[in-house]
Each structure stands twice: as structure tokens, then as C-alpha cells.
């Protein structure tokens, strides 16, 4: 098999046994990028020269008898809202087209410590605000399963890169489903860790109380391996949790006997594509056959989650994106005569339409006279949504739900904006409650991948990893390569 198709843990074994070199592997991935990137457009920036130099360094380390870390010498793709010094970080925005970060994100520092390889930076919806990667200033990315379809988003570039063989592992960020939903649309594994499990330092902030960095990979084991490296407290992020990080690969046992899996009935309601429903029902039956106990649970405030999110996330975004004023970094209009005019012109020209809409929505819900009716109300409903989960977890160990109620849709910009927002109904509540969630390939509907979402208790990534691993190993869905058809 071509090296670019392998998982990180398979390649690590090959590197250990000296069956391959990191340079060979990196060349395989770079040649694949060369061959398919014009169709997929996963990357904002590709740095094969840097990657080859790092690969040669790792090969020398191995030749000198050093034992490589699990991700050493294995090329990964990083969502372009996570800072790496030596590569620009654009957030797929004109605002940051030429921005060069002056420090590494905490997760990047940790990954560098493992001597891994960063092969490039991937597309996102501008500033991670979207679910299709269509709003990228340099985009859009395309779905490797059918190039006429969206790869999902906002981490669509990272997911597309994994599905198309343009990287071995990747990082995304998830504010309302931005790791899990593109993983679902492209047949990858995508994990949003518990809020606070991974430091957000160096990830360009969208909605600070919701954002979380996590892996998009080819299988569950790779997701656990990447999480092992990036998790842990960081003095630079006061919201990172000072708790012990387990070895997540130890949770990967093929056993769900006696596990109680809850099916939140509201997630199987109107709007769920019957073909997606059928795939999930089959998965539920498989779990039952493997010894899990299935219970129905209720999350009664689910219908309020999307609008709660579309008040809270824009409110936080309007504050976070106030820093883009054309003064210290980012795009500047050079013609404006005064400082306030320069700021307004720079922001107007530097941001795209969706980003502007959300900044203004956030400004409105925080403004005098509307704060209580919208922002405070949404924060109260957020409490009710959290309580729903707490109540459900008294009856089960984890929840099984669709990742998205639909499969990948056409890349033609014809979807109604509110209808697109509503498609995030199965992922958004998990961010509002700060819980861990993973999307795993569960089958196909009309030849397109369908993701199954497993949601765990606060800081209990291990249970969902174990359940995900057990399901994955009993099937071959994750081994099917995207055909790069369509167009």
C-alpha cells in the first residue's frame, strides 16, 4: 500500500522497524499533494521543503539509535487558525493573508517536542465561522468523496486532507461541531475533547468558552495518539484544566459489554435524513449485539441549542475579533485619513460577509437594551442544556447520536443560511455543555460517509474512545478510501 494511505500508528511501526524512512514517507505525501491538491484544495499553505528537512532530521535520529515518539517523522496537517512559527496563519481570511505568528501554539510546541512534521496549513471557513469551508477567502475545499460536494467545516481542509491522502493526521478546532461534522462528511474520525482538556493558546479565538482543538485522523487509535500529545494543562491558558492526562491509547479495548449507551430521542427527530437514520439504527443494533445496553434518554432543551449558540458564539466573537483593527497586525487600508476611518475601512475590507454578520449579531446581543433579552437569556438556557446532559448521564455512560442529520451537500452556495445553522443541532449542544464528542465512520448513504457521534461525560474521553474503537474494529468503514469522483 502507498505510504500516504497508512495510519500514523502503522507508519510509526514501519519507522521503528526501519522498513521505511521518514523522508520516503514525506515524499509519498508530498507527491500525493502534488497529484490531487488542484482538485481538493485542502491547503492554504504547503511546506514540503521544511517537511523534508524535518524528515531527514528524524531519519538521522533513528539511525543514531534514538527511539522515535509516536508521531515523530509523520506528516500532519494543521488547521490554519493554529499558530506555527515559520508558516503564515491566515484563518482563511484576507485580514490575515500575510500574518506570520510570533509564537507557536501550545499544541504545536508539544508536537514539536515529538519531532513530528507539519506539512502545511489547511482551509477553514473564514475565522472558523461556518460548516462548509465555503467562506474561506482562499477556498473552498472540496469533498474527496465527491468533488462537487462540501467537505463540511469549519475544519474542512483538515478533513479533506486526511480523506484524500494529503496528510497522515491533522488538527482541527471545534466550536459548534467544526471537527466532528467535517469528519462525518469525509469518512474520518474527528474528536472534540472536553473543554479545557487541550490548551487553546495560539489558536485564534472565535468563541472562547466553546473553542477546543482536537484531532481529525484515519482511525480511532490515531485520534487517541494525537490527543495524548496535545492534552494537558498550560500556564498560558487559564481555562486549561489542571488534571491528570491518562494514556488514551490504553482505553482502546474491544469491549462494550455492560456499557450503557443512551439514545437522545430529540436527535432522532424531524430533519434527520432517513438514510442517515438507517445507518445509525444499524450501528445501535451492532452495539447491542456486542453486549452494550441501549437506553432511550431525553435532552428536552435540544431545540433551543442552535439559537443559544448563535447568540453566545457571535457575542464572544464580536469581542475576540475587535483586536483586528489594522494597527498591530493584519490587513490595513492605507488610504484612510484618520485612525477610526482606517480601522473601519480595514475591517470592512479585511473580513468577509459571514464574519461581518456574526460580529454585528454579537455586537447587537451585547448592546444596551438587548443584553438581558438575548445574551443573558442564552446563558441561562445554556445552563438548562448542561443540566439535560447531567440528567441523561445518570441513566447511561455515553450517548450515541448522528454527527450531522445529513450527508455532505452540494458546494453551490444555494443553502439557506438559517437552514445551514440548524444542521448543527447534533453537535452544538456538546460545545455548550463542554463535553467530549467523537465522530466515527458508521457506514454510507448513497455512497457518502455517515458519521456516528459518541458523547461522553465531562473529562471521560476514555469511554467514548473505547466504544468508538470497538465499533470501528468490528467494521471496515474507516478503511474505504475516498474515490475523488464527481466534477
Amino acid at each position: 500500500m502507498e505510504l500516504y494511505k497508512c495510519t500514523a500508528h502503522e507508519l510509526h511501526e514501519k519507522l521503528l522497524k526501519k522498513e521505511i524512512s521518514s523522508v520516503e514517507l514525506t515524499n509519498s505525501v508530498c507527491e500525493r499533494i502534488e497529484a490531487v491538491e488542484k482538485d481538493v484544495n485542502a491547503y492554504v499553505t504547503v511546506e514540503c521543503e521544511q517537511a523534508r528537512a524535518q524528515a531527514a532530521k528524524v531519519d538521522k535520529m533513528i539511525a543514531d539509535g534514538e527511539k522515535p515518539a509516536p508521531l515523530a517523522g509523520i506528516p500532519g496537517a494543521i488547521k490554519d487558525n493554529i499558530s506555527i512559527t515559520g508558516m503564515r496563519t491566515t484563518c482563511s481570511s484576507r485580514m490575515l493573508e500575510t500574518f506570520n505568528p510570533i509564537y507557536d501554539a501550545h499544541v504545536i510546541k508539544k508536537l514539536r517536542g515529538e519531532e513530528t512534521i507539519f506539512i502545511g496549513k489547511t482551509h477553514l471557513d473564514e475565522f472558523a465561522m461556518g460548516a462548509s469551508t465555503e467562506t474561506s477567502f482562499f477556498g473552498p475545499s472540496r469533498n474527496p468523496w465527491n468533488l462537487d460536494l462540501v467537505p463540511g467545516g469549519s475544519s474542512g481542509g483538515s478533513a479533506a486532507a486526511i480523506a484524500a491522502g494529503e496528510a497522515i493526521w491533522s488538527l482541527g478546532s471545534d466550536t459548534g461541531g467544526s471537527i466532528r461534522q467535517p469528519a462525518s462528511f469525509t469518512g474520518c474520525v474527528g474528536m472534540k475533547p472536553t473543554y479545557g482538556r487541550v490548551s487553546r493558546y495560539g489558536c485564534v479565538a472565535f468563541a472562547s468558552s466553546l473553542d477546543q482543538i482536537g484531532p481529525i485522523t484515519r482511525d480511532v487509535k490515531d485520534a487517541a495518539i494525537v490527543l495524548n500529545t496535545i492534552a494537558g494543562v498550560d500556564a498560558n491558558d487559564s481555562t486549561s484544566l489542571p488534571v491528570e492526562v491518562p494514556d488514551f491509547t490504553k482505553a482502546l479495548r474491544q469491549d462494550v459489554k455492560g456499557m450503557k449507551i443512551g439514545l437522545p430521542k430529540e436527535y432522532y427527530g424531524a430533519g434527520l435524513d432517513p438514510k442517515v437514520d438507517a445507518v445509525l439504527r444499524k450501528a445501535v443494533a451492532d452495539y447491542e449485539a456486542m453486549g452494550a445496553e441501549i437506553v432511550e434518554v431525553s435532552l428536552p432543551h435540544t431545540e433551543y441549542a442552535v439559537i443559544t449558540y448563535y447568540i453566545i458564539a457571535p457575542a464572544e466573537a464580536s469581542a475576540n475579533l475587535a483586536r483586528f483593527d489594522g494597527v498591530r497586525y493584519g490587513y490595513r487600508n492605507l488610504k484612510a485619513g484618520s485612525a477610526p476611518e482606517m480601522m473601519t475601512a480595514s475591517r470592512t475590507e479585511g473580513f468577509g460577509a459571514e464574519v461581518k454578520k456574526r460580529i454585528m449579531l454579537g455586537t447587537y446581543v451585547l448592546s444596551s437594551g438587548y443584553y438581558d433579552a438575548y445574551y443573558k437569556k442564552a446563558m441561562q438556557v445554556r445552563t438548562l442544556i448542561r443540566r439535560d446532559f447531567e440528567e441523561a448521564f445518570t441513566k447511561c455512560d455515553l450517548l450515541l447520536a448522528p454527527t450531522s442529520p445529513v450527508v455532505a451537500y452540494p458546494l453551490d452556495g444555494k443553502m439557506d443560511p438559517l437552514a445551514v445553522y440548524l444542521l448543527d443541532v447534533c453537535t452544538i449542544p456538546v460545545n455548550l455543555a463542554g463535553l467530549p464528542g467523537i465522530s466515527v465512520p458508521a457506514g454510507f448513504a448513497d455512497g457518502l460517509p455517515v458519521g456516528m457521534q459518541l458523547i461522553g461525560r465531562h473529562l471521560d474521553e476514555e469511554t467514548i474512545l473505547r466504544a468508538a474503537y470497538t465499533f470501528e474494529q468490528a467494521h471496515d468503514y474507516h478503511k474505504v478510501m475516498a474515490p475523488l469522483g464527481g466534477k
Binding site: N100, A339, Y364, A378, R382, T383, L418
Partner: protein, 95 residues
């Protein structure tokens, strides 16, 4: 209609943004679509419910007050659209 084009203009001004005249109507319509949808929240009685700003059980995360090396002037200015004598240069602020 929750907001008019005039309201949107005001919100844009607060946000330091300009909406081009040709896009104003569509923008206002999309804005209203979301705000109208937010009406469903009024079905819920939230009297006495504590708001959640953040899900973490953490507060006042502190560290020892020790000096650490900061960013050099040169590095801090590396991405400046315009710099002048070691500072960020901006157009005139006061008339």
C-alpha cells in the same frame, strides 16, 4: 421586523464596519431571520436560572508573580502594517 436598515447601520458603526448600500437590504433581512428565530427562547421561563458563561469549575487561576522574558520590540513589530521608530504607526487620531 426586529431591526431596520437604520438599526443595522448603527450596529455596524458600533462594530467598526460598513455595510455597502447595495447589500444593506439583504443583510438586514438575514439579521432579522436570526432574531425572529430567537423568539423561541421566550417559550422558556428562565426565572432564577443561573447563567452559564463558562462550563469550567475554575475561578481565579493564579501563578507565582515571577518575571518572565517578554516579546522583543522587533518581534512585536514584525507584523505591523506600518511601523515608525519602534512603534506602531497609525493615521492621525485627534483632529
Amino acid at each position: 421586523m426586529k431591526v431596520t436598515t437604520k438599526d443595522v447601520e448603527y450596529i455596524a458603526q458600533l462594530s467598526r464596519l460598513t455595510i455597502p448600500e447595495g447589500e444593506m437590504e439583504k443583510f438586514t433581512e438575514q439579521f432579522n431571520q436570526i432574531l425572529n428565530y430567537a423568539d423561541i427562547l421566550n417559550k422558556l421561563d428562565t426565572t432564577g436560572i443561573e447563567p452559564t458563561a463558562n462550563v469550567l469549575p475554575l475561578s481565579n487561576v493564579l501563578r507565582e508573580d515571577v518575571a518572565i522574558e517578554g516579546v522583543s520590540q522587533e518581534v512585536a513589530l514584525a507584523n505591523a502594517p506600518e511601523a515608525f521608530e519602534g512603534g506602531f504607526k497609525v493615521p492621525r487620531v485627534i483632529e
